[in-house]
Amino acid sequence: MEAAIEISGLSKVYASGHKALDGIDLEIRRGEIFALLGPNGAGKTTLIGIVCGLIRKSAGTVKVFGHDNVTSALQARKLVGLVPQELATDAFETVFDTVSFSRGLFGKPPAPAFVEKVLSDLSLADKRKSKIMTLSGGMKRRVMIAKALSHEPTVLFLDEPTAGVDVELRRDMWNVVRRLKAEGVTIILTTHYIDEAEEMADRVGIIDKGKLVLVEEKRDLMQKLGKKRLTLELAAPLAALPDELARFDLQLSADGSELVYSYDTRGERTGITALLSSLAAAGVRFRDLRTAESSLEEIFVSLTGRQQ
C-alpha cells in the first residue's frame, strides 16, 4: 500500500548556513501514529514545516499519498492538518468563527454541526462564542487543534502538542488522537515526553542534528535495544552488597531494602539463574520480585549520547 508520507533525500540549509536537515529518508505508513523524537534543535519542526509547505526545502522530495508537496501542492495540502509548536491564534474572532474559517480555507463547505462536534470533543463547546483573546493558553491550544481538525485531514501533524500543557488537555488530546487513529487518520507527532511516545506511538523515529538516527516499531525497539531490570524486595535490609554477589551488575537501594539487577534481553543468557543461586548461597532472601523494561528515554540517551 502506498505510504501516507514518503520523504526522500530531504535536506534543509537555512539562509544562515545552518544545516537543519541532512538527507532524511522516511516513510510514514497509512493510519499509524509515528512519534518523532529528538533533542531541541534536532530539526523536527523544520521537517514538519517542509512537509506542510511553510518552509522551502533545499533538496529532496516529499510525497503525501503520492502527491509531490511542491509540484502537486494543492492535492498534497488538502490532506494535511497541522498543529504547530508555537501558539498562534487570532485575537478578536470567536472560537467558532476561527475554526469555521480554517475549514473554508481548506476548501471544505461550511458544516456548522461538524464544527460543533470538533469543539465539544476538545471541551470547547461552551467557549464557542468567546473571543479567542479571552481564553487561557491551554484553551488557545485546544482552538489550534480544533482548527486543524476542522477540515477533516487524512494526515495530522502535532508538533510538541503537550509541551507545557495541563494534565486535562493532555488527556483530552490523547483521547482525540486515539479516536482519529481509529478513524484511519495518520498521525505524526513530535514530543520530548518520551513516555508519551512510548504510550501512543506505533513507530518511533529518532532524529538528531538533522539526521534520522533510527526508525523502529516501538515494540521491537524496546525489545531489541531494551534492557530489563529485575528488582528484588529483600526480606531484610542489607547494609552492603555481599562479596559473593560482586560479579553481578547489582545495585543496592539507599535504604538497603531492594536489589536491582540489570540485564540485557538480547544476551544469550540473562544470568538470572546464576544470580538467584548465588543469592541463596549468600543467604540473601527476598519477599517479592518484579521486572521492568527500560524506557525509550534510556534508549534515546544511549543513541544520542545526551539527556533531553
Partner: protein, 253 residues
C-alpha cells in the same frame, strides 16, 4: 478554484472592518468631510471657479482619491501583515490555496472597503458642494480599478514590512504627499511650466485627473493616458506579487 477559501478570507477581512467601524469607516469619512465644510461651504466661495467648476466641487475627486489610495494601501497591507506578525500565517501557507486565491480574498476585501468609503464620502460631499457626475460608469470604473491597484500595492507592502513603522511609511511619506502635490487642490495647468512638467512624473496626477474627468468632463491630461497609467501600475503590482509567491519572499524561510 478554492472558492470556499476565497470566501473565508474575504469574510474574515470584512468582519475585521465591521468590528472597527468607528476607526475604519467613520473616521476617514469624517476627516475628509471636513475639507468640504471648509473649502466648500466656508472659504470656497472666495476662490475662483476652475474650468467652470466651483472650488468646493473641484476638490472632491482629488479628496476621494486621497482616501481611496491611503485606505486601500492601509487595509490590504494590514490584512496580510497582521497574520505574519502574530504567526497565524502558518495556516494560510499550509492551506490548499493558490496565490491568486489569497490575493483575491485579501485584495478584494480591502478594495471593497475603500470603494464603500469613497462612495460614502461622495454622498457626504453632495451635502456641502454642488456635485455632478458626468460619466457615472467611468467614475465607478476608475474607482474600482484604483482601489484594486492600490490594494495590490498594499498587499506588497504588507509582505515587505517587518515592523509596524514600515507599514505606515508608504501611506504617510509617499501617497499623501504625492496626492497633495498631484493636483487634488489645483489644476496643474496653473503651475509654472517647470513645475507642471515635474508634476507629470507624479502618477497620482493621472489618477486624480482621470477621476475628475468622470465628474466634470475635463482633465489636465488625456483620459486614456490616465487609464493606461493606472493599468500599468496594476500590472507592476501583480508582477511583484507573482514574484513574492514564486520565491516565498518574507513568507517562507
Amino acid at each position: 478554484m478554492n472558492t470556499h477559501a476565497i470566501r473565508a478570507i474575504y469574510a474574515f477581512e470584512m468582519a475585521r472592518t465591521r468590528r472597527t467601524l468607528l476607526q475604519s469607516v467613520v473616521s476617514p469619512v469624517l476627516a475628509t468631510s471636513l475639507y468640504f465644510v471648509v473649502f466648500g461651504a466656508a472659504i470656497g466661495s472666495r476662490i475662483a471657479e476652475i474650468d467652470g467648476v466651483s472650488y468646493g466641487a473641484f476638490i472632491v475627486p482629488g479628496l476621494v482619491m486621497l482616501t481611496l489610495l491611503t485606505q486601500s494601501v492601509q487595509n490590504a497591507s494590514f490584512g496580510i501583515y497582521f497574520p505574519r506578525f502574530i504567526g497565524t500565517i502558518y495556516e494560510l501557507l499550509s492551506a490548499p490555496v493558490t496565490a491568486t486565491e489569497i490575493v483575491i480574498g485579501y485584495v478584494g476585501a480591502a478594495a471593497t472597503k475603500s470603494v464603500v468609503l469613497a462612495l460614502l464620502i461622495m454622498v457626504t460631499a453632495a451635502f456641502f458642494v454642488p456635485l455632478q457626475i458626468a460619466h457615472p460608469f467611468a467614475m465607478l470604473g476608475f474607482l474600482v480599478l484604483t482601489a484594486i491597484t492600490f490594494s495590490l500595492l498594499g498587499f506588497v507592502i504588507g509582505v515587505w514590512a517587518d515592523n509596524f513603522e514600515k507599514l505606515q511609511l508608504v501611506p504617510l511619506l509617499v501617497i499623501t504627499p504625492l496626492t497633495f502635490l498631484g493636483g487634488t487642490f489645483y489644476s496643474i495647468d496653473v503651475l509654472p511650466p517647470v513645475w507642471r512638467a515635474i508634476s507629470l512624473a507624479n502618477p497620482v496626477v493621472y489618477l486624480v485627473n482621470g477621476f475628475r474627468w468622470s465628474f466634470y468632463g475635463k482633465a489636465d491630461v488625456s483620459v486614456w493616458l490616465c487609464l493606461a497609467i493606472t493599468f500599468g501600475f496594476m500590472l507592476a503590482c501583480l508582477a511583484v506579487i507573482w514574484w513574492i509567491f514564486r520565491t516565498g519572499y518574507r513568507l517562507k524561510s
